[in-house]
C-alpha cells in the first residue's frame, strides 16, 4: 500500500535527483502553484489597500508597489498565476486530445490521406505561429476562450506532426506490420503497442509546448486581445503599464514581466532536464532539442 501511495512522489524525486535542471524547474512551478493557492487568503487582490498609497513604489508594506487604483501589485501578479497556469494547460490538453488521434490516424492510414494532411499541417506552420495566434483571436473576437481555441488549434498541428513522425518511425522498423501479422486488433494495436511506444517523444515535447502557449498567450494579452483591460493576466498588465513603466513607474510592468519569465524559465528547465534524462537512457550525447516554434 505504502509503495503505491508514494509511487508518484518517488518518481518525482527520481527525476529531481538525476537532473538538477528538472528539479529546479519543478520547484519553481510548485512555488507558483502554492502562491496561487494562498494568494486569496493572504493577499486578496483588488481590495483597496487601506492607505492612500496610489502609484507608490515598492515598500515593505507593498513589496511590488501599488497601481493607479491603489491596488497592491504583488497581489495582482499572484492572482494572475491562474491565467498563466490555466490557459496554456487547457490549450495543450485540448491540442493533445485533437492532435494525437489525428496524427496517429494519419500515420496508420498512410498513403494519400497522410500526404495531404502533412501538406496541410506544413502550410499552416509556414505562417509564423506567434503571429497567426493573435490573428486567429482577432478573427474570432477578443476573449480568453478564443485565445485558448487559437492556441490549441496551432498546438494540435504540432502534436499531430510529432505523432505522425513517431508512428512513421515505428512503421519503418516493421512494428505495425509485425503486430498486424500476429493478429493484433486495431484498438489493441493503438492502446497497447503504439501509444506506449510514442509516449516518450510526446511527453518530452509537452513542457516546451506549454511554455510556447504561455508566451503566445501573454503576447495576445499584450496586444489587447486577451481578457478585458484591468484583468490580472500578465500580458494585459504589461500592456497597460507600457507607458508608465518607461516614465519611472517601472514596478507596474517589471514585476508581471518577471513572473512571466520565471514560469517560462521553469518550463524550459523542465524540458531540458527531461531531454537530458531521455538522452541518458537512450545513450546518446544529448538528444535533439526542437527549436522554439516562433
Amino acid at each position: 500500500m505504502r509503495t503505491h501511495r508514494f509511487a508518484q512522489l518517488r518518481l518525482l524525486r527520481g527525476v529531481t535527483r538525476r537532473s538538477m535542471a528538472a528539479g529546479i524547474g519543478l520547484a519553481i512551478l510548485l512555488g507558483f502553484a502554492a502562491a496561487m493557492v494562498v494568494q486569496p487568503v493572504l493577499l486578496p487582490h483588488g481590495a483597496a489597500t487601506g492607505d492612500v498609497a496610489i502609484l507608490a513604489g515598492p515598500s515593505l508594506r507593498h513589496p511590488f508597489g501599488t497601481d493607479a487604483n491603489g491596488h497592491d501589485v504583488l497581489a495582482r501578479v499572484l492572482h494572475g498565476i491562474r491565467y498563466a497556469f490555466a490557459v496554456p494547460l487547457a490549450a495543450v490538453l485540448l491540442a493533445i486530445a485533437v492532435g494525437v488521434p489525428a496524427g496517429m490516424a494519419a500515420g496508420l492510414v498512410g498513403g494519400r490521406t497522410d500526404r495531404v494532411l502533412q501538406r496541410l499541417f506544413q502550410g499552416v506552420m509556414t505562417v509564423p505561429p506567434l503571429l497567426l495566434a493573435p490573428a486567429l483571436v482577432a478573427g474570432m473576437g477578443p476573449s480568453v476562450l478564443h485565445a485558448v481555441i487559437a492556441l490549441a488549434a496551432l498546438e494540435a498541428v504540432v502534436f499531430a506532426r510529432i505523432m505522425g513522425a513517431e508512428v512513421h518511425a515505428l512503421r519503418r522498423i516493421g512494428f505495425v506490420e509485425g503486430n498486424v501479422a500476429m493478429g493484433v486488433s486495431l484498438p489493441r494495436l493503438v492502446a497497447v503497442h503504439l501509444l506506449p511506444n510514442t509516449m516518450a517523444g510526446l511527453a518530452g515535447a509537452i513542457p516546451r509546448r506549454v511554455a510556447w502557449a504561455l508566451a503566445t498567450f501573454a503576447l495576445i494579452g499584450f496586444l489587447g486581445l486577451g481578457p478585458a483591460a484591468g484583468a490580472t493576466e500578465w500580458g494585459t498588465m504589461i500592456r497597460q503599464a507600457m507607458e508608465p513603466m518607461l516614465a519611472d513607474r517601472w514596478w507596474l510592468g517589471v514585476f508581471p514581466a518577471a513572473a512571466l519569465v520565471m514560469v517560462g524559465f521553469a518550463l524550459n528547465l523542465l524540458a531540458a532536464g527531461l531531454t537530458d534524462l531521455r538522452a541518458a537512457r537512450v545513450g546518446q550525447a544529448g538528444a535533439v532539442l526542437p527549436g522554439a516554434a516562433g
Binding site: 506544413q122 509556414t126 503571429l131 486567429l136 511554455a211 517601472w250 544529448g286 535533439v288
Partner: protein
C-alpha cells in the same frame, strides 16, 4: 545536375500547395465569427443600402467557394487590397516598409550568430562543465523571455534608468528628418549623404531593438549549435582524431566543419523565427516597418492588411527555407567531393 532540376521542380510544386493553404487561412480569418464581414467593413450601423453596396463590391453575395477563388486570383495577380481603416494599398504599403524591417532583421541575425555560434561551440567543448551549465542556463532564461518582455526590460534598464538609449520613437530622433531614399536604410542613406548627425541618430535608434533581437537569436543558437557539435563528438572520424592526440583547437575545428550544415539550418530557422520576433519588437519601438503595421492591424481587426501580412510572412518563411536548403546542399556537395 538533372537530379537538382527535378528536385527544384518538385519543391516549386510543394510551395504552390503550401501557398494555397496559407491563402485559405488568410481567407478564413475575417470569417471566423467576430462579426459578419459586412459589419466589419461598414460598421454595425451602416444602412441596408450601404451594406448591399459593400456586399456587391466585396462579392460577399457570392457562394463561399467562389469568394475564395476570387480571393486567390486577386492576391495572385498582385492586388492585395486596401486597408479597411486607412484605405492605403496593402501591397504597396508592405513593400514601402520592407527596408525598415529587413534592416533590423539582418543586423540582428548577424550579431546573434556572431554571439550564439561561438558560445554554442564553447558550451559543447566544455560539455557538462560549469561553463556549459552556465551558458545553457542563461540561454534557457533568455529563451523564456517573450520578445516584448525583453524589449521592455531593456528599455526600462537602458532608457529609463541609465539614460544611455534613446526613446522608443522609431527609426530616427524626432528632431531629424529622414535622409533621401536610396537603400531604405536610414543609417546607410545618411552615410551616403555624409549626414553625420543623421547616421549617429539612426545607429543609436537601431542599437536597442537589434540587441534585443540578437540576444533572442543567440540564446536559441547556443542550444542548437551545442547540440550539433555534441552529435559530431560521437562520430568515428572525431574519435579517430582524438585518438591521434590532436589539440583541442583542432578537434574543435573538425567538429565545427562536420556540424556546419546543421548550424546553417539552425541559423535559417532563427531567421524564420525572427520575422515574428521583429514584428513584436517593432510594435514596442514604434519602428514603422511591416511588423508594426501587421500587429497594429491585428489589434484593430483591419483584416485586409492582416491577410497581406500573413501572406508576406509565409512567403518570407518559404524563401528562407529554400535558401537554407540550398546552403546545406552546397555543404553536402563539398563533403561528397572531398
Amino acid at each position: 545536375m538533372e537530379r537538382w532540376g527535378r528536385s527544384i521542380l518538385r519543391r516549386l510544386g510543394l510551395l504552390a500547395v503550401l501557398l494555397l493553404v496559407v491563402l485559405f487561412l488568410a481567407f478564413l480569418l475575417p470569417r471566423l465569427g467576430a462579426a459578419p464581414p459586412v459589419v466589419m467593413l461598414g460598421g454595425a450601423t451602416a444602412p441596408p443600402a450601404a451594406q448591399a453596396q459593400l456586399r456587391a463590391e466585396y462579392a460577399l453575395d457570392q457562394p463561399v467557394p467562389v469568394q475564395f477563388i476570387r480571393f486567390v486570383v486577386r492576391m495572385a495577380s498582385g492586388d492585395w487590397g486596401r486597408s479597411w481603416l486607412t484605405g492605403a494599398a496593402v501591397g504597396a504599403d508592405l513593400l514601402a516598409r520592407t527596408p525598415a524591417t529587413l534592416e533590423l532583421m539582418l543586423y540582428a541575425i548577424m550579431l546573434g550568430s556572431l554571439l550564439g555560434v561561438p558560445l554554442g561551440v564553447t558550451a559543447a567543448l566544455n560539455h557538462s562543465r560549469p561553463e556549459d551549465r552556465t551558458l545553457r542556463g542563461v540561454a534557457l532564461l533568455f529563451e523564456a523571455m517573450p520578445a516584448f518582455v525583453l524589449a521592455l526590460l531593456l528599455l526600462v534598464l537602458l532608457f529609463s534608468w541609465l539614460g544611455v538609449a534613446p526613446a522608443p520613437s522609431g527609426r530616427l530622433s524626432i528632431m531629424l528628418s529622414p535622409p533621401p531614399h536610396v537603400t531604405g536604410s536610414y543609417f546607410i542613406d545618411a552615410i551616403l549623404m555624409q549626414d553625420g548627425a543623421g547616421a549617429r541618430s539612426a545607429l543609436s535608434q537601431l542599437a536597442l531593438p537589434v540587441v534585443c533581437l540578437a540576444l533572442l537569436v543567440a540564446a536559441a543558437l547556443v542550444v542548437q549549435v551545442r547540440q550539433a557539435i555534441l552529435v559530431q563528438r560521437d562520430t568515428g572520424h572525431f574519435a579517430h582524431a582524438r585518438a591521434q592526440g590532436m589539440s583541442r583547437d583542432m578537434l574543435g575545428s573538425i567538429a565545427l566543419r562536420g556540424a556546419a550544415p546543421a548550424i546553417a539550418t539552425a541559423i535559417g530557422g532563427q531567421l524564420v523565427a525572427l520575422f515574428a520576433a521583429t514584428a513584436v519588437v517593432e510594435y514596442v519601438f514604434s519602428w514603422g516597418g511591416i511588423g508594426q503595421l501587421g500587429l497594429d492591424s491585428i489589434a484593430r481587426a483591419d483584416f485586409a492588411v492582416v491577410q497581406g501580412f500573413i501572406l508576406y510572412g509565409a512567403l518570407f518563411t518559404m524563401v528562407v527555407q529554400v535558401l537554407t536548403h540550398l546552403a546545406t546542399l552546397g555543404f553536402r556537395v563539398r563533403v561528397r567531393r572531398a
